[in-house]
């Protein structure tokens, strides 16, 4: 398969994720859509690593996976603490991060 196919697929997944981030209101689903966008970036990095035949892109993809895992942990921690304080779980109403 040509590398271009993989890159276009990753662009498509990225756009689906972007649409989800902009239109969903539950922070949980927004985080899931962020995961989609990060994974699309990972796919593009690995496709370009294949194109150049060097492993550098794969290392970048690995680091992106680490960053995504960190983002999930902090985001879910925020959601749990928002839920504990009985605030509405809705990104439109959570417009400030004050305790």
């Amino acid at each position: 398969m040509d590398v271009a196919w993989f890159v276009v697929l990753s662009a498509f997944i990225f756009c689906i994720g972007a649409a989800g981030v902009m239109s969903r209101r539950s922070p949980l689903v927004v985080l899931l859509c962020l995961e989609l966008m990060l994974n699309a970036g990972t796919l593009a990095l690995i496709a370009f690593a294949r194109m150049h035949g060097t492993g550098d892109g794969q290392i970048f993809a690995l680091i992106v996976m680490v960053v995504a895992a960190c983002e999930v942990v902090v985001g879910l921690g925020l959601i749990v603490s928002v839920y504990r304080r009985r605030l509405p779980i809705d990104v439109d109403k959570l417009s400030e991060l004050r305790g």
């Binding site: 899931l32 492993g55 959601i79």
Partner: protein
Amino acid sequence: MLFEQIIFFAAALLAIGGALGVVLLQNPFYSVLSLVVHLIALAVLFLLLSAEFLAAAQVVVYAGAVMVLYIFVTAYVGGSDQPLRPEGGAVARLGPVFAAVLFVELTIAVVGSSLQVIDTRGAELEAGFGSPAAIGELLLGKFLIAFEAASYLLLVTAVGAIVLAGRRRGLEEVPGGPEEGTRAEAPRATEGAA
């Protein structure tokens, strides 16, 4: 060659279907399960790009660990059905349009790119490309600083998660505030409801 194409299109369809499921399904719990499908399809695509180690890491770390975390939090917060777009603002309405425009632009950029290798299968690979040995050698040699930075990031995240979600009564009360009692009561009441 044909076999490879069949696998690519099957995995790509699964990945797109999983991604659409994440965005379109109303119950967050089903969105999480849909993301698992998406991640496993992506791992198959990584294998096609001869990134064996990353495919394994994707399945173990993402589809295994991270998704379990999501499922726990979804079960804790309560995966209530929410309408897809209940009178969202202008941003919510413009979201799909923005995404479509972005996709068209990115596709034009890829197709019209002057990169000539992009329309081939890529460079010739040396033996062991993408294997754990090759990745480990790069990670501990050429990219040692990135590796160390990632480890610090993970440490900071672990501390941050404990600070954010830890159950510490003392810090949840605002000293001297009029609603001191109600703030301390609130988490307990929530636990009772859950």
